[in-house]
């Protein structure tokens, strides 16, 4: 820190000197000479008033000025890098701002009921109801949907399974800007109100934003809704107003306070994560490839 202070002091002096016309070459100035002496530990100090002293002072002054200029250049380089970098990164992240979310192929005509921030899908003939807790931003949920989504849809279609999708906003702060978890959950609940949940849900997972990336905006969610047949004003208004935001947050708070849903998080601590699957009050282990078959077989 001593160096920085010294530099600042020197800069002040030099600015004073530089203001005079021709100050840079005008030779001996008592002030500059002293500033130079203060810094140069081993430099021989010439007798004041001598020609040598004038020369040394001029040299020290120039040297100091050079150092100040170099320091200023360094600071300017860093500042320019910050400004340029922020602009560049923003542009890069906003590359998806005008894109349309592609519509995925999924069944639409299965019975769908919204229950607060959950969506129950499936035929009444099904004996088993699987609770799935998920967040549209969660990469593991995306992996789960990609791997087991089609098989689950088939079981739903066969009428041997019902699924209650609990849409939580665990990762709400992990999109840039934050809020995608809530916005997407709210939109999917609104889609469920009009029976268009499955395709909306699958489309969002098929084009899932990365954590830390820009999520899909409300306008993009509304566009996707239109593409799957949610053309009414109620859907668009609900998405914009965040109609079910509070239910989504409440569902997350409830889930993470539910003992049987918590799983080992290392160091003996337990935590709620997504995706979590449960039947009744038992968590379903999906590590075995045939977990779904065994589940519907009872």
């Amino acid at each position: 820190m001593g160096g920085a202070e010294r530099n600042a002091r020197k800069r002040k002096r030099n600015q004073g000197g530089g203001a005079r016309p021709g100050g840079a070459t005008s030779g001996a100035r008592a002030g500059d000479g002293k500033a130079g002496d203060g810094k140069a530990g081993g430099r021989p100090v010439p007798k004041p008033g001598s020609a040598q002293a004038a020369l040394a002072a001029a040299r020290a002054g120039k040297n100091d000025r050079t150092k100040v200029i170099l320091g200023v250049v360094a600071v300017v380089v860093v500042a320019a890098a910050v400004i340029g970098g922020v602009i560049w990164t923003n542009n890069r992240k906003n590359a998806t701002a005008d894109a349309a979310i592609p519509v995925a192929a999924a069944r639409q005509e299965l019975p769908t009921t919204r229950e607060d921030a959950a969506v129950l899908v499936g035929k009444d003939s099904a004996k088993v109801t699987l609770d799935v807790y998920e967040d549209f931003l969660c990469p593991a949920c995306g992996g789960f949907e990609a791997r087991f989504g089609p098989a689950i849809e088939q079981k739903l279609d066969e009428g041997v399974l019902k699924v209650r999708f609990h849409l939580v906003n665990l990762l709400d702060s992990r999109s840039d800007p934050e809020g995608y978890s809530t916005d997407s959950a709210n939109a999917a609940l609104l889609a469920a109100d009009e029976g268009k949940f499955l395709r909306f849900h699958k489309s969002l997972y098929d084009s899932q934003p990365e954590e830390g990336a820009r999520g899909w905006s409300k306008d993009q969610l509304i566009e996707l809704g239109r593409a799957v047949g949610l053309t009414g004003q109620a859907f668009a208004d609900g998405v914009r107003a965040g109609k079910y935001d509070q239910q989504v947050t409440a569902a997350y708070e409830k889930a993470r306070g539910t003992e049987y849903l918590l799983q080992d998080a290392g160091n003996g601590q337990k935590a709620f994560g997504t995706p979590t699957l449960a039947v009744g009050d038992k968590v379903v282990d999906t590590s075995q490839a045939d977990w779904l078959e065994r589940l519907v077989a009872g």
Partner: protein, 155 residues
């Protein structure tokens, strides 16, 4: 002799900034997650800070590599490192379970997988290097040295 040591330290610190900056720039989403995980900044500031930090690091790398404004670059390096150390220390103190994301990566980790002491020790090491260069910025193979010589020659 001391100039030689300084040169090595300067190039070493330049390499540290270059690697850490590059790893962050190449994955801006991960960098956002890493900054967010410290749980320090208000929502609106996470994004600009995550965008700026990698470029500050790359700029410092470039300055130190060239030996341009070495003292200023060293002081800025020290300030940035102190901020990093402070951020890691507060995560440790508050019992967060995060990776510092110092060289890419970052974000939440399992409770048993934190490495706060190592991360802080490493940053303190870098801080000592920055301290040396701030106190004694004269090094070989530097733009600074060339300018100083040019000034002397011009007399």
């Amino acid at each position: 002799m001391l100039d030689g040591v300084g040169t090595l330290l300067r190039l070493g610190l330049a390499a540290v900034w270059a690697v850490s900056g590059w790893l962050k720039v190449s994955d801006p989403n991960q960098t956002f997650v890493a900054v967010q995980a410290y749980d320090l900044l208000p929502a609106g500031l996470v994004s600009p800070v995550a965008a700026a930090v990698p470029f500050v690091e790359l700029a410092l790398a470039a300055l130190l590599l060239l030996g341009l404004g070495t003292r200023a670059a060293a002081v800025l390096s020290g300030v940035v490192l102190l901020a990093f150390i402070g951020a890691v220390a507060q995560s440790w103190a508050r019992g967060l379970s995060i990776d510092c994301g110092c060289f890419g990566g970052g974000g939440q980790v399992a409770a048993g997988d934190t490495r706060y002491p190592q991360e802080i020790a490493r940053d303190v090491g870098f801080l000592l290097v920055a301290g040396w260069l701030a106190v004694r910025p004269r090094t070989g193979l530097s733009v600074d040295g060339r300018f100083a010589r040019a000034t002397v020659d011009a007399r």
